[in-house]
């Protein structure tokens, strides 16, 4: 196969745009994980389950409101809020008691919650898969050099930067964000100057959960919502966070870009083995920079 001519064909631009819309979902989910990892030092294995709950909750909200653009937009806000509430209960009810213990304990706890939440989803929504249709407003696709790019993917391309700017504002321009950043570097010191780190941690965890839920809600119209959708994502998210630099938000963005783009361009170059490209990229990054591309907060 002629790889070079594949790479410089008319399909390249549309493939990059498609890759970027995939990046959006990956970034939203992995930034939430990175945030929690950086500030709370929890490698949250249950993050994928929160994403899955986001997707199921979006389905429920859309069903409840009877479909349409309004129901869809409402779901994009309400579903992540539901997930944020779940996150709040998890953090205050369980994780907050284990911060003094070793990381392994926290890791095991998040793993057990990944299993528990998976079963809870089965109890609440049942084992069958659910499907959300793209609202009429986003149906169909734009033509780019004769190749289709769904309107919904373009919508995701708008959402991505908005979330990035929003996170930047929260982290750099609010007091809470500044405290969270300080707590990430030295939690003890922040406590010593009289700030209640417990609530900073709770806020961060809730924000991280919100992002996981938002990722799930945004992907809902593109896939069938089913048990097990958490597993496939959590793996990619961890890899993204690792190659970006543990706990670094912009690292999560960079990692998502690498993952999303190598996948879509890899498919263009060699469709039969398109799956392998993001993972090869991960290997390449880790060989060159074993601690990730950007500085880790760990």
């Amino acid at each position: 196969m002629d790889f070079a001519s594949n790479l410089f064909s008319a399909g390249t631009l549309s493939q990059i745009l498609v890759g970027l819309s995939r990046t959006t979902i990956l970034f939203i989910v992995s930034s939430g994980m990175s945030l929690i990892l950086g500030v709370l030092r929890i490698p949250n294995v249950a993050h994928g389950s929160l994403y899955m709950i986001g997707a199921f909750a979006a389905w429920s909200v859309i069903q409840f409101l009877g479909g349409g653009l309004f129901a869809f937009l409402a779901a994009m806000i309400v579903a992540p809020m539901i997930v944020a509430a779940v996150g709040f209960v998890l953090e205050r009810g369980f994780f907050s008691y284990l911060y003094e213990r070793e990381h392994l304990m926290l890791l095991l706890l998040t793993f057990s919650f990944a299993l528990i939440l998976g079963d809870l989803v089965k109890i609440v929504w049942g084992p069958e898969y659910r499907s959300v249709t793209v609202p009429a407003f986003f149906q169909g696709s734009a033509e780019i050099f004769g190749l289709p790019l769904p309107w919904y993917n373009l919508f995701l391309l708008l959402v991505g930067p908005c979330i990035a700017v929003f996170l930047w504002l929260v982290i750099n321009r609010t007091n809470l964000g500044k405290i969270a950043r300080a707590a990430a570097v030295d939690g003890e010191m922040v406590g010593a100057v009289g700030i209640n780190t417990g609530w900073v941690f709770a806020f961060t965890f809730v924000l991280g959960s919100f992002l996981a839920g938002l990722g799930g809600a945004l992907i809902a119209p593109m896939v069938n919502i089913s048990l097990g959708m958490d597993h496939s994502l959590i793996m990619e998210t961890f890899l993204i966070v690792i190659i970006g630099g543990l706990g670094n938000m912009w690292g999560a963005l960079l990692g998502s870009l690498i993952f999303g783009l190598t996948q879509s361009l890899g498919i263009l170059v060699w469709p039969q083995f398109g799956i392998a490209f993001p993972y090869l990229a991960v290997v390449a990054v880790l060989v060159v920079r074993p601690r990730g591309l950007l500085s880790s907060t760990w």
């Binding site: 498609v18 289709p148 309107w151 593109m222 069938n224």
Partner: protein, 402 residues
Amino acid sequence: MKKAVSILAVAVTMFWGTGSGIAGETIKVGFVDTYTGPATTFTNDVLDGFKMAAEKINEKGGVLGKKITYVTRDDKFKPDIGLTMAKELILKENVDLLVGTINSATALAVSDLCKKEKIPFLVTFSKSDKITGSMGHRYVFSMNENTEMAGRATAKALAKKPYVKYWIAGDDYEYGHAIANGVFDHLKTLNPKVQLLGQSWWKVGETDFTPYITQILAAKPDFVIVATGGGGMVNFQKAAQSTGFNKKVPFYQHTAIELSTLSPQGPNAPEGVYGTANYLFYFPATKENKAFVEEFRKAYNRYPKSGALYGYMTARFIAKSYEKAGKIDKEKFIDAMEGMTLDSPVGKMEMRACDHQVTLPMFFGVTKKSAQYDFLTATDVVSVPGKDYMPSCAEIAKTRAK
């Protein structure tokens, strides 16, 4: 630790013990199938179809004066669990025969066990052609179509179409490759002009098909064989709908026209998708099929899918075979099953004696919006008779000899 293990053992035995009846008074069927996870969309219909037929038979006095009873075990889509459950059903529950499962790996493992234990095993949803092909034996029966059959039936229908440049895309696992090769290899022999332009394979559970779709469109094939299974069916159709893929290039998916693929998408599924299925509740519109649909809807308040047909016919084949055998005997049961023909909602179904593969029609059609239902249905349906798309007994003998 020892104590914990023994307590656990006692608890497990007690739990398992509750279902056991006394052997001999009833015909006891053991189900090993996946009852958790996405596969339940298919497996619940098998069980419900079976229940419906069994209840009717029992109401009329059962078979040889014995009622048909059943126990179920969840294999959680895992071959090791399935095999353990099958052993338990044989050794502790003393089942007369085993029925299941949707996972081909499990089916092959259980089939091997049944060969050693000399217990009849009726496979109700696994699609590996090895079950009655290269790994077939006296004790295993297949109650549904397999990848080889689906491939041949589709190739037969596609060979009449003018398409030349084909593209293959699918889930990168056994079923995906088996379906894709099944279709393309047979198509190639039927119509030597066709050529394979290229292939794309994605991991099972892939969520975003858009990059694959744009790449395939850029390659400009005439027709695409999409080899997705399970959850991938709906995912791909959604991506096809949002990119308008189906309007640009015609494509085929096995089971694309089936209710289990179309009903979750409601009225927004893509139109013009070619697919095959063993059962459609609205085709053929015969008296027998209508009666079956009516009965199933009355019992479960939903339309029957392929699984319902498989389960329903499995119960009827079991009853008829014991009747013919004249007593509850495993070897006599098998002799009776061989060559048995029964009327079904889709016409005559025959249990072929040479390989224990059921012969049933395959429907080939195209998805289209329906005025009557709030989901898409198949149109231009062609029925491919079973004998037209099954490997011959001689071919099977050759595969088994290898």
